[in-house]
């Protein structure tokens, strides 16, 4: 009973707040949104606890079961990501409420878009229906594009157009795959298709569908070499928006890809495909980090770092295909830890970068010279988040890297170790480049603007969470591993 209320609250709050905030201006929307964030965080926490205690369940929307209706799949992994979303999006929202200047008329549209984005994220984490996931993805992409373009000049418009076109093409490819899947199986439920797959004779159609869906999602996740749209969009948006996009939005499409792979990959995948996707992920790690080292702008460094960090996620594909159950489990755990830790760390990093830009008045990395003299918390938060990105202990990034290393060893795919090690060294290079800039002794810097305390605290908390993640990784992973008892009828 209580879970039914929690589910209704979870689905209702973001959408309702979106409409509510549409009617208000920025300052009033801020008040209302703070309330909404509280509600949403509490509901997410409640649902997480409920699932951790009693296990996952299927939630039929409108009282209809799959395949006729849409079923939401409320399992351990989904609720963990919902909680993660609540924490990160809540933090970004609170940060934005102080960060954005209320006298700019167009910021009144920030809150509705923010809440729609949140609703889209929740929809994707819970989605168990292929077409519903498409609508969720579009909800997500359009609100993200809206946020990037918000009040923007030429560059912001160019970035958001590029983003929009990539996102549209990606979702259309995905939808084409869905069409083929429906044609083959007559159902849209992921669980239903997964249970029908083993008996299917001709796999050409579903194989093509899988390929289309995965490539569409890879484009939306900015997997190398389809990453061109990401750095401009993430770099140019307002910092809280960049944080949301990098921390959560790109993860959504990856999450769908991973779910599809884990459900269908066994029948529809092949070693070549798995290795290819892993190879692209590896190339993203190396190339993204390399480009991050070469950026002169602070936020561009962080944006390219996202390209690299996303690459790690795609190592899931080769590490779960045709390997022992232990290795597969380790890879999945590594992937979830990477999603969580990267979300926290990257949000912290973008918010901190925003504060630093506010403080120094410069977008450049070199503009940080002498900043560490003032001991700004934001620099510290940035540094701590960097620790997690580098995969240094005891951060969540380290835990993820450790699990992926174990999975590579257990499956005998030692070449991913090279990627993991090279990636973490390269990420150290760009993180330390920023540290180094901040340590440059520079005299005569007296006009240092200290951002308000609330702006400084939020990234610090996120960074600390990301840093300490490895210490609580074991209980977290045990909840993430909770799946549904029901197999899901076709």
């Amino acid at each position: 009973m209580i879970t039914a209320w929690l589910m209704a609250g979870l689905l209702f709050t973001p959408l309702a707040w979106a409409v509510l905030c549409l009617l208000l201006d920025f300052s009033r929307g801020r008040l209302v949104s703070c309330l909404g964030i509280t509600v949403q965080v509490l509901v997410s926490l409640g649902l997480w606890v409920a699932v951790a205690r009693e296990g996952g369940f299927l939630y039929g929307l409108g009282g209809w079961e799959a395949p006729l209706g849409i079923e939401l799949r409320v399992d351990g992994l989904a609720v963990t990501f919902i909680l993660l979303t609540a924490i990160v999006a809540g933090a970004c929202g609170l940060h934005a409420s102080v960060y954005l200047a209320p006298d700019n008329a167009w910021y009144r549209y920030f809150w509705p878009l923010f809440w729609f984005l949140w609703a889209g994220l929740n929809g994707v984490w819970l989605g168990g229906d292929l077409f519903n996931l498409y609508v969720g993805l579009e909800l997500l992409s359009l609100s993200a594009v809206g946020l990037v373009a918000l009040g923007g000049g030429i560059n912001a418009l160019r970035a958001s157009l590029r983003y929009l076109l990539a996102a549209l093409l990606g979702s259309m490819a995905y939808l084409l795959g869905v069409a083929l899947m429906y044609g083959q199986f007559g159902t849209l439920s992921i669980a239903g298709i997964a249970s029908l797959l083993p008996e299917t004779q001709a796999l050409v159609g579903p194989g093509m569908a899988m390929a289309l869906m995965l490539s569409g999602l890879a484009l939306k996740t900015a997997l190398f070499p389809l990453h061109g749209w990401l750095p401009p969009a993430h770099g140019i948006a307002k910092s809280p928006v960049s944080a949301l996009l990098s921390a959560l939005v790109v993860k959504a499409s990856f999450y769908i890809a991973a779910r599809l792979w884990l459900e269908f990959g066994h029948e529809l995948g092949s070693t070549a495909v798995a290795q290819l996707i892993g190879g692209l992920g590896g190339a993203a790690v190396i190339w993204g980090s390399w480009l991050a080292c070469r950026q002169s702008q602070l936020k561009q460094v962080v944006a390219y770092s996202s390209v690299a960090q996303i690459g790690y996620l795609f190592l899931l594909f080769p590490l779960t295909f045709a390997v022992s159950d232990t290795a597969s489990l380790q890879a999945q755990q590594g992937m979830t830890l990477q999603v969580v830790s990267h979300a926290l760390a990257k949000a912290a990093m973008f918010l901190a970068a925003g504060n630093l830009i506010l403080a120094t008045g410069s977008h450049q990395v070199a503009g940080l010279a002498g900043v560490s003299h003032f001991l700004p918390f934001s620099l510290f938060s940035f540094g701590l988040a960097g620790v997690s990105l580098m995969g240094m202990p005891p951060s969540g990034g380290f835990a993820a890297k450790w699990m992926l290393l174990q999975a590579s060893l257990a499956s005998g795919q030692w070449w991913w170790i090279v990627v993991l090690v090279a990636g973490s060294l390269l990420s150290a290079a760009y993180v330390f480049r920023i540290y180094q800039a901040s340590f440059v002794a520079k005299t005569g810097v007296d006009d240092f603007y200290h951002p308000p305390g609330s702006l400084e605290v939020i990234p610090l908390l996120l960074a600390l969470m990301s840093l300490g993640l490895a210490l609580v990784a074991e209980p977290l992973l045990s909840v993430m591993a909770l799946s549904l008892e029901t197999g899901g009828a076709p």
Binding site: H373, V387, P393, P394, A428, Y435, F439, V440, L477
Partner: protein, 498 residues
Amino acid sequence: MSLSALLPPITLMTSLLAAVLIFATPEHRSGLRTTINLTAALIKLLLVAIMVWGVFQGVDYHLTFTMLPGVAFTLKADALSVMFAGLSAILWLLTTVYAVGYLEDSPNRSRFFGFFSLCVASTMGIALAGNLFTFLLFYEMLTLATYPLVVHRGTVEALRAGRTYILYTLTGGAVLLVAIAWLHGLVGDLPFRQGGHFQQAASDLETPLTLIFVLLIAGLGVKAAIFPLHGWLPQAMVAPAPVSALLHAVAVVKAGAFGIVRVVYDIYGIESVAALGLLEPLAWLAAFTILYGSVRALSQADLKRRLAFSTISQVSYIILGISLFGPIGTAGGLVHLLHQGIMKITLFFCAGNYAETLGIHRVDELDGAGRRMPGTSIAFTIGAFGMIGTPPLAGFITKWTIASGAIAANMHWAIAVLLLSSILNAAYFLPVVQRLWFREAVNDWPHERFWGRLETSAWLFWPPLITALMTIMVGVLASMPFSPLSWAELIAAREYLP
């Protein structure tokens, strides 16, 4: 949860908490900062003393919880860990005192002392780590905490040194991570255990175990500055003197050496390392590094660079000692871990005093400094003679024990290495001492400052004298209970128990 389980984390937390408090202290509140620093250092010393006594009595300090699937976070105090912890606790106190004086009126002190405490916290963690995974956690944390100290001055030179430092140590850390992960994948979680885990090394694991050993030593060897992985150490000299002192005597270099001790004794077990045929190459490597460091030290004009190359050479004594098969050699290596720390910190304190008081950085500027700064110069002389190995100072005890170990292990060539190295030590230290005492000052000092009655600030004056005194005491009183030597012999005896 009993107190004995909580004592290691509490010890760790003292410096961690101190770091957080110091970061939160405003820049100008130097009195408050110093109080926090010294209080934490004293509390830590007390806690470590309790643990030393407890370990002697056989109390099991042990805390463990599962961190990741199949991996435990373990803190544990055994004889070896309290030895290292004791060293860092004592030297932290002294270095803090010294650093307060050294950095008086310089900018960014909150930042400096904050990372300084973090650095010591990591060293503590390394000492108290109960398995390789936990060791790795703190080992990497140490890398991160020392970087801001190395680049503290923010000059182009310092930043370059920092880059080199981070390049070396992070690569080393990555290699170590791969090795530990591989080992973990192969045999699961391995707590440090006296006698090691592979006494009867399974033959099918021989190749991977050998490879892992090489990787482990390579990863740890970066921090221990074993040739050819020593490149960062001389460059890191641009850091302020207390940092160099800490880097060389306690934290970074020792962390590497300590890690090698752990791997050889408590993971593989000395017997299995010998059985794998890895002990002898390690000894050769150490011997070569000893001679290489000494030869390079001869030609250094910068005092701190000369000391840095001396460190490269001296740390490999530890490696040489532990790679001599037999309890005596082990004891020699372990005791050098302490002795070298005490002697080297004395020398760095003195070098810092010369730089801070007189503005002297080069060896040829030292002429006649003994008259101007007799206290510092006496300490320096004691330290230098200790390094050379003059009886009855600390260095003599080490060299004597290692030599006895070499004879017991039937590796006579090691004695030749020791002798040669001592001659080289004398060759690069004695000219310095000679300049201090037996030459007249020709010019004015480059940058002289005055502090009234004492030759230099009291904060700077006493720490080297105390460590110099300790250099004498650990040598003279080597056979007393709780002296470093007898403690090292205790550990060695436990390691070789059947």
